[in-house]
Symmetry: C2
């Protein structure tokens, strides 16, 4: 088996694939001439087998059971960080001694490739049997520097991360068992981050996740009623109301949504319709880094501390609702004041009713007033 291959992407970026010791793939995304030939010299560990998903009949939702993940690494010190490049004694997940952006298959994945042909049951209900936890889990490292954060990356690097997201969405969408691709980042120990090195993840599900399914349903209903796409109307309202806008440029707008659920919640959406990241045109992708960096800096600036957040790319499903759902980036933070977090307690957790402590207009004003 060939151990490497190269692809040219947009914006002068080259992707070099290498096989890891245990058969996983690592993809280096590089700007400029870089040769990626380092081998993964670690002893080969057995990869965990595929997990299973069970149907929760009370709500007809899948629950993946990934009991092999209990023992994963928890906040290792810098000298043992598996996301730093390999150097000296440390043989990390990245064989090379430096890198720009890398994406590799997750070592403790919640979802993996199915062994045989995979089909979800047509109809879900009480007697639906367990099914293989088919899907794909990848890790994306934004930089080989252990300290730092997404918002502190140079604009050119954020552009490379965007290219990697686009590339992964495009490629993973072609897998027949994938229905939904979800790039996201958890930052901060408050949201359970187990590795501090600046990185994100990509989960690709074999089903449309419950929240995306509900968004698709709302988008369909809106289109049936008005003939328009929901996100176009949502963005038109934000532009008209103005008060909740946090930042904008020619191609993107960032706003605190009209009915935000978290003390600090920002949506960043393209002004034209694109179903997912793969569809973004180069000019739109080029305009993303500036607004992304501004939003992250405003978020950290509100209280002058690194805000814990979840940054989630909502996309259209791979084969449905492509003309109805628009890609957008949702950043939510549970920090409501210095020293105070919002917790998902009874109402939020058991009933999915989120009680907002701050008016969206108020948090938008706080975000806008941050001096950059």
């Amino acid at each position: 088996m060939s151990k490497g291959s190269e692809h040219s992407l947009a914006a002068g970026i080259i992707r070099s694939d290498r096989e890891m010791a245990d058969g996983r793939t690592i993809r280096y995304y590089d700007l400029g001439e870089v040769s990626r030939t380092a081998d993964d010299l670690r002893p080969i560990d057995a990869q965990p087998g595929i997990g299973e998903m069970r149907l929760d009949p009370l709500v007809n939702e899948w629950v993946p059971v990934a009991s092999h993940r209990q023992g994963r690494v928890f906040l290792p010190p810098k000298e043992l960080c598996p996301l730093c490049p390999s150097h000296g004694e440390l043989l990390s997940e990245i064989p090379d001694s430096s890198y720009q952006v890398v994406v590799f298959d997750n070592r403790s994945p919640s979802f993996t490739a199915p062994i045989e042909a995979f089909n979800l049951p047509d109809e879900l209900g009480f007697n639906t049997p367990d099914i293989a936890a088919a899907g794909k889990c990848e890790v994306i490292c934004y930089t080989d520097e252990h300290e730092g954060s997404f918002g502190e990356l140079p604009l050119s690097r954020i552009r490379m991360v965007m290219e990697a997201w686009q590339d992964r969405t495009r490629e993973i969408s072609q897998l027949p068992y994938i229905s939904y691709v979800f790039p996201f980042e958890n930052r901060g120990e408050e949201v359970g981050v187990t590795l501090n090195h600046p990185h994100g993840q990509i989960y690709a599900y074999s089903f449309i996740p419950p929240r995306a399914a509900k968004m698709l349903e709302a988008a369909k209903a809106h289109h049936a009623k008005t003939g328009r796409t929901l996100m176009a109307d949502v963005i038109a309202r934000e532009i008209k109301d103005e008060i909740r806008i946090v930042a904008q440029n020619e191609h993107w707008i960032a706003y605190v949504p009209y009915a935000a659920r978290y003390p600090f919640e920002i949506h960043v959406a393209p002004k034209q319709h694109f179903a997912d990241l793969a569809e973004l045109t180069p000019d739109v992708a080029d305009a993303f880094p500036a607004i992304a960096k501004e939003v992250m800096q405003r978020l950290d600036g509100v209280f002058g501390i690194e805000m814990a957040y979840i940054a989630a790319w909502h996309q259209a499903p791979v084969r449905e609702g492509r003309d109805l759902m628009r890609v957008h980036w949702q950043i939510t933070s549970v920090r409501r004041a210095p020293g105070k977090l919002k917790y998902l307690a009874g109402s939020e957790s058991a009933m999915h009713v989120f009680i907002m402590d701050l008016k969206p207009e108020q948090s938008a004003t706080q975000l806008r007033e941050v001096k950059l």
Copy 2:
């Protein structure tokens, strides 16, 4: 206006209502002859006005905005606890110098009684205007002792708490603007508890909460397909599989559900059909305290520490699905090991896909093996 009234309930319990200084009502539930005449001697604070709810058009869900709650009391020391009985200098929420069980209107409510006739819009969508946050929020104190927990209450006291839940469900269900009554308890700072005194809450919503709506939908589909009620089949499977049962008696069964979402999740359900707490017959209510106490003790016993939990009563909506949805008590804990919490990160929070780290059979075994 009369300042007090008395009602006889089941199990020899007397409820005495008193008006608080700011017009709220406090209800004392007592076993035996107790006269409740203490006045609320605090200066009258203005009650907050009614908040508003906004529709999140991306998923057609209501988001109540309760920005007046930001300043609420946070983990006060025992001598300033607003849930302890009034004594000496301390004028608390409970005017009397001792109590058994009390329920009073929440001082910082997320929902309040509407000022005028209240109707939800027939159809939800992008242009749905804001609406008053109609509903009711109450606090239930299980004991006048500041230390302790629900699971440490004597059986006779748990029976009184059950009677109070039943009474409140029955009475609140009669309010024309209420669609769903939700008694719950958050325990532990890990789930954001702001007062340590053993207590729970009751939220009554003017709409069917999103999760309950989804449960109703699944129950309807199951009934249409099989002619049976979903929870009857769920419980029959738990009894047949046996491996996930944590405790049972003549009228109740406690089990880790087949597709649990949390490292420790226990459902406690009546073996016969009851739509809500108000419908439980006295013999079924009498059988609850023993299993409730056992379940809580097993939960605390797993790691030998007080487990943080959310204990949520799922009921049928007030005017819909009464023959399809069965009342049950869902206890969920985010503690997956000593020193380790499960966090709701990207997949759970943004996509509603819960990745389970423990097999339900494994956590059920751990719970059963606890020596009581």
